[in-house]
């Protein structure tokens, strides 16, 4: 009987033989991350245990991204404690403005194909885009990694999702993940790993593949794994990662479910207010008025997302009454976007650009609050009622292309119907 990517990676880290779905294994963790929304209590607890018991602390990154910049004294004090901890123990630290954990870990060369990576954040599934088993855990788990370098895992069953054909211009990985959410429902893949495969994945750039793995968190997935290819190897090499140990699924691997999506004919999708699985094709709801447009987060705040927005808004102005905020996912993306002149285009169009961080995802920093009855269209991952600080506002979720096209017109708009909406980076 064959094995899935998840079974193989967990098995390789737990003694060597492939593990079987349902088993509980104790596995060596290659890298871990804790961010500022979880570090406060965890670091206090870890300090109590003493330095002698932290032999693996250097493979745990500390990331200051959620409270970036800190909106209150508690967060500011947590940041000071995190910096002091990193100085004392030698953990890598990413400071305010460096970017979101899921962006800075791959950019920092901290992971490669075949790795097992955990982070105190549900979107740690992002690392699956690089053929690494990435999953979300809590502060206690990260403490255990610092102490022993290991964690226990329940080996997940896997859902295999084949993406049939390259996406059309104006259609992005986000439209695929929204389609999956409409199909399976939020938490529809609870406990399970996803494996995305097929020509639709091969055609995607790395930025888009990261969206595919990232947004699996809303499906409840434990991991979302892609096979590695030349694009993966080139990206990892360019970012200084260790030599890849790519892992493929066996042809006779056992899957809990198989799904095929005809990505070649897929239309842009949006999730309507409050429920991430209330998903409809953009053409069905085109014309719905919006007042706030947000591009950013670990789901869609990457360079290709900002390039799409600039392609659509070049030489144009935002629709009257619309405000738009761009939050790059990392300092590296911020610098690239500046060098490419994207911020000049977006700023001239009427958008504001903010420092890299989790930014507009959730009302943590307190400056994205929407007014009563306002409709926000966002490239983020979640749209729970009140997530942006006002339960009387609505949050709709789409790709960066859908957000930029809607910011241009003032209504929910299919990017395929506006100039520049067909932008895609040359392969």
């Amino acid at each position: 009987m064959g094995h899935t990517i998840a079974e193989k990676i967990l098995g390789q880290h737990a003694g060597g033989r492939p593990a079987n779905a349902g088993e509980i294994v104790v596995a060596d963790v290659d890298f871990a991350m804790i961010h500022d929304a979880r570090a406060g209590n965890a670091l206090k607890m870890i300090e109590k245990l003493g330095a002698k018991s932290l032999p693996h602390v250097k493979r745990v990154a500390l990331v200051l991204d959620h409270y970036s910049p800190p909106p209150n004294m508690e967060a500011a004090n947590t940041h000071v404690a995190m910096r002091a901890f990193a100085d004392k123990y030698g953990s890598p630290l990413y400071d305010v403005g460096d970017g979101i954990c899921h962006q800075v870990l791959p950019e920092g060369g901290h992971l490669t194909c075949g790795d097992l990576v955990v982070g105190t954040d549900t979107h740690s599934t992002t690392y699956g885009a690089f053929n690494a088993f990435g999953t979300g855990v809590e502060g206690t788990d990260v403490s255990a990694v610092m102490m022993t370098g290991k964690l226990w895992f329940r080996v997940p069953e896997t859902i295999r999702i084949e993406l049939n054909g390259p996406l059309q211009p104006g259609v992005w990985a986000k439209d695929v993940t929204l389609t999956m959410l409409g199909k399976l429902g939020a938490e529809g893949a609870n406990y399970r790993a996803l494996e995305y495969c097929g020509s639709g994945v091969s055609a995607m750039a790395i930025d888009d593949r990261m969206t595919l793995s990232n947004h699996a968190a809303e499906l409840g997935a434990k991991a979302a794994l892609l096979e590695a290819d030349e694009k993966t190897f080139a990206w990892l090499k360019a970012h200084g990662a260790a030599a890849p140990k790519p892992v493929k699924a066996d042809a006779d691997a056992v899957y809990a479910q198989r799904i095929v999506i005809d990505t070649a004919t897929l239309a842009p999708q949006v999730a309507r207010q409050h429920n991430i699985d209330d998903v409809v094709p953009v053409p069905d709801v085109a014309g719905k008025k919006i007042q706030v447009a947000l591009i950013g987060t670990c789901t869609n705040g990457r360079l290709d997302d900002i390039r799409q927005a600039a392609a659509i808004l070049k030489g144009k102005k935002l629709a009257k009454g619309v405000r738009m905020i761009i939050t790059p996912a990392s300092r590296a993306i911020y610098l690239s976007a500046m060098r490419e002149g994207l911020f000049e285009i977006l700023t001239a169009a009427g958008a504001s650009v903010e420092a890299a961080g989790c930014g507009t995802c959730v009302n943590i920093t307190g400056h994205y609050i929407a007014a009563d009855d306002q409709v926000v269209i966002s490239s983020a991952n979640r749209n729970f009622k009140g997530r942006l600080g006002n339960p009387k506002s609505e949050i709709w979720i789409g790709s960066a292309a859908t957000v930029a096209a809607s910011a241009l017109t003032g209504v929910v708009t299919d990017a395929r119907t506006v100039a520049g909406g067909d932008w895609r980076a040359a392969a």
């Binding site: 018991s53 809590e138 206690t140 788990d141 403490s143 255990a144 226990w152 939020a186 938490e187």
Partner: protein, 170 residues
């Protein structure tokens, strides 16, 4: 703690512990306060009537979505002996075990409030002797049982820094 005996206390499907058993949306309130009002919105009077040693019998996906470890700390304060449910939210399941709270996936049909339950973690069995209900569940692996006995992951690792619990392979 291989055998747990306690009375059933019922909670419905898809209950988020972030919303109903933490201070995530009640800033400034501590675990002691949350323990007096936990699950009030989904099961009025739940915390008030909860007796130390009772077992939470929940519907599907208990602890769904994001889940803070604080929820388990609150449940320890309430005196929760174990939780059984047909399924758990992934992060909650992990947090429960890491913080020494037994969680067992099990068919809960036929179990009503107040039923005295017997849970055998090693053998993998849940029973309501008074009703002649006996259900087999996958026994928890030795590693997890030892972790629960130690009171959670950190106390476990202080005793077993090599994760080796002897006998059954980890």
């Amino acid at each position: 703690m291989n055998i747990i005996k306690g009375c059933a206390r019922i909670i419905g499907d898809e209950v988020s512990t972030d919303i109903h058993c933490s201070s995530k949306y009640l800033p400034g309130k501590d675990a002691a306060y949350i323990a007096t009002v936990a699950f009030e919105q989904v099961a009025p009077g739940f915390a008030k009537a909860f007796n130390k040693g009772d077992v939470i019998v929940a519907g599907k996906n208990f602890g769904i979505n994001s889940s803070r470890e604080q929820a388990v700390h609150v449940m320890h304060r309430m005196g929760v002996a174990a939780i059984i449910a047909p399924s758990f939210g992934r992060q909650f399941y992990r947090n429960a075990i890491n913080n020494g709270m037994p969680v067992i996936e099990c068919d809960i049909s036929g179990i009503v409030a107040g039923d005295p339950l017997e849970i055998d973690l090693a053998a993998g069995r849940i029973a309501v002797p008074a009703k002649n209900i006996t259900r087999a569940v996958p026994p928890l692996p030795a590693t997890v049982r030892t972790l629960l006995e130690a009171g959670g992951l950190i106390p476990f690792l202080q005793k077993h820094p090599d994760w080796n619990v002897g006998g059954e392979a980890a």
